[in-house]
């Protein structure tokens, strides 16, 4: 038995992980979801912004991190449209624009908001960090057209948008590079702008330092924060129909974490038994 556990076939672990994520996705467990301070900070800041404020949401992710970041994107969009904000989006990852389109259709589009007056997607621009820096000096020169090829001079809500300082708030949804770190370094430190971040759980520990120092106003880290934000913004909702993807995912993630912890414990029990056996032999 000890030998079996010591050289446990990784495929057995994989099966347990698969079951622990698949079963909660099929059957609702409904574990409680509260709200942590970094998440409340984002929510409270958006609540404080006056209706009609110009908010830039930079969606810097791709389908790889979609399970964590897409629910966040949906919840943030819903909150902003509920509050009557003007939402502008940019993408620094090439595969992001269709995801943003999907998020817009599910939230603003379904809520009767109009493209061009309530929402504009400026699209993907290659160059990573340089694009962020350039937004600091001129947006019309950097984005002469939106994602659909319309000249920005013909888009009503682009009037008065000169550079990054034309926005009242920036929300960055980030899966890595370029992402929150670059927004903090190039925009917050240069122009003293209000920025909040939504990121994958794996990069959240890095951004806690920025939240603690006040360089970002709030932080949504991973699916847990996305679920908390869904709850705060009234998701699941019927009008518009929005599913609570992150809340559902939280049950699965909880079970998967539990399985990992159990395997770590098994690994350590085996390790101690083995050590004891070796001592006894000596």
């Amino acid at each position: 038995m000890l030998e079996f556990l010591k050289y446990l076939d990784r495929r057995i672990i994989f099966i347990f992980i698969f079951l622990s994520t698949a079963i909660p996705l099929l059957f609702d467990i409904g574990l409680p979801i509260g709200s942590t301070k970094p998440v409340r900070d984002v929510y409270d800041h958006i609540e404080k912004l006056p209706p009609g404020s110009k908010v830039l949401v930079s969606c810097d992710y791709d389908p790889g991190s979609m399970p964590e970041l897409f629910p966040m994107n949906i919840a943030v969009f819903k909150h902003l449209f509920d509050r009557g904000m003007k939402v502008y989006t940019t993408e620094l990852w090439p595969a992001a624009p269709p995801l943003v389109e999907n998020a817009w259709r599910e939230t603003g589009g379904a809520m009767g908001k109009k493209y061009g007056t309530d929402f504009v997607n400026l699209g993907f621009k290659s160059g990573g960090e340089v694009v962020i820096v350039r937004m600091g000096t001129s947006i019309p020169e950097l984005y002469p057209e939106d994602y659909y090829g319309t000249r920005i001079s013909k888009i009503p809500m682009m009037e008065g948008i000169r550079d990054i300082q034309s926005f009242d708030f920036i929300m960055n949804i980030s899966a890595g590079y370029p992402g929150t770190r670059e927004w903090v370094q190039q925009i917050v430190s240069r122009y003293n702008m209000d920025l909040a971040s939504g990121c994958t759980a794996v990069s959240a520990p890095e951004y806690y330092a920025y939240h603690q120092s006040g360089q970002i106003l709030g932080l949504l880290g991973g699916m847990k924060s996305a679920a908390e934000y869904e709850k705060l913004t009234g998701i699941p909702s019927e009008n518009p129909p929005i599913k609570a993807r992150a809340m559902k995912g939280m049950d699965a993630q909880s079970m998967a974490h539990l399985v990992i912890v159990i395997f770590i414990i098994i690994g350590n029990v085996v390790y101690f038994l083995e050590r004891k056996e070796q001592k006894d032999k000596r």
Binding site: D62, S65, G128, I161, S166, S189, N192, V202, P205
Partner: protein, 363 residues
């Protein structure tokens, strides 16, 4: 070498001329151009507050909104724009008030960034001083970095087994310093591989890294005296997509079975996917990144891990060039100075003295 030194001096001279001589000349020629007129975000905020308190009419603020962020270098043009935007609402009194509020001096130096400037100059000074000093004393000490020593061991293993070495330079572009550091290590790795007569596969994510990596591998083989062993098809652009790239690298690991995987550069969420596949393929793995959030994954899955700045020390460590080793010493001393300042800051804050913290506070 001397040419490069002379070139460096010439460039510095040209730049110093540009920054020291041009500004005063420009300022003299364009008198009055040292001001700009801009309704900034902060001004709009204060106008909004005044409107809420009833000091100014609300529709004045609404009419001004389109002008926010627009820069005027001429007072006349700014006044015209104000009249155009506000029309009858704009009395002479409001006009003058707005012009005064929006008049911003454009300096040749941003004093709010003086802290960063001083730290930057001090740090660069230390690095340059120690690297200059090292030229007179070539026997510079550099501590052992087991991860870098393990690279030769891993390459030796590949040669014994007749299998290739896989070098993954991270997923960032050439504008990331980690990728530059990784390219320098790649050249050394290619040289050793050339000497051992093994194969080297380099899968790449950002297209810009491809020609640099090709050049590095070519030079490494050339230095080893085996330029004919360079195979251009082994430096491969896989995909600009993060996980498509990870899938491509995993495919190479499982199909071509390299006996050693060197994962050195800037990694993100794909780090563990790649490193665990390496474990599955039974390869010896040396990893290194300055992206601290990925270090736990490498520590768990790889045989050796270069932590944080160790990856930047690689170039000096592998080449033993005194100038480079000296510069390492410079950055280490800077770290000592920073640590002392931090400790001092903690003590002063504890006793309620805030001047040091405030001096460092940029926002």
């Amino acid at each position: 070498m001397k040419n490069v030194g002379r070139f460096r001096s010439l460039i510095l001279f040209i730049l110093m001329t540009f920054f020291l001589v041009l500004p005063p000349l420009y300022a003299q020629e364009e008198e009055g151009k040292n001001f700009k007129y801009e309704i900034t975000r902060d001004i709009m905020k204060s106008l909004n507050e005044s409107a809420e308190q009833g000091d100014i009419p609300e529709n004045l603020v609404v009419a001004l909104a389109p002008l926010q962020g627009k820069v005027f270098i001429n007072e006349q043009a700014f006044r015209q724009e104000l009249v155009g935007a506000l029309g009858r609402q704009l009395s002479a009194q409001y006009q003058s008030r707005l012009v005064d509020m929006s008049k911003i001096r454009v300096d040749w130096f941003d004093m709010t960034k003086i802290t960063i400037f001083i730290i930057l100059i001090a740090f660069c000074g230390m690095v340059l001083f120690f690297s200059w000093k090292a030229k007179t004393d070539p026997n510079q000490f550099i501590r052992r970095i087991p991860g870098l020593d393990a690279i030769s061991e891993a390459i030796g293993r590949c040669t014994e087994m007749g299998k290739p070495v896989l070098y993954v330079p991270g997923i960032d572009d050439m504008n990331n310093i980690q990728t530059i550091a990784s390219m320098v290590i790649l050249e050394n790795v290619a040289r050793v591989i050339g000497e051992y007569e093994s194969d080297l596969i380099v899968p790449i994510r950002p297209p810009f890294v491809v020609p640099v990596a090709e050049e590095m591998v070519k030079k490494g083989y050339l230095d080893a005296g085996r330029p004919d062993a360079f195979k251009p098809e082994n430096v491969r652009f896989i995909s600009d997509e993060q996980f498509a790239y990870a899938a491509g690298v995993n495919g190479i690991m499982l199909r071509e079975k390299p006996a050693a995987n060197l994962l050195l550069g800037s990694f993100f969420a794909e780090s563990l996917v790649i490193a665990e596949t390496g474990v599955l393929a039974g390869a010896i793995q040396v990893a290194g990144t300055a992206n601290e959030h990925q270090l736990p994954f490498f520590v768990a899955a790889c045989d050796y891990t270069l932590i944080g700045e160790e990856i930047y020390a690689a170039s000096a460590y592998l080449s033993k060039d005194p100038e480079l080793v000296g510069s390492l010493k410079g950055s280490d001393w800077a770290k000592v100075v920073l640590s002392i300042i931090m400790l001092l800051g903690v003590v002063l804050e504890t006793f309620g003295v805030h001047f040091l913290t405030e001096w460092f506070f940029i926002r």
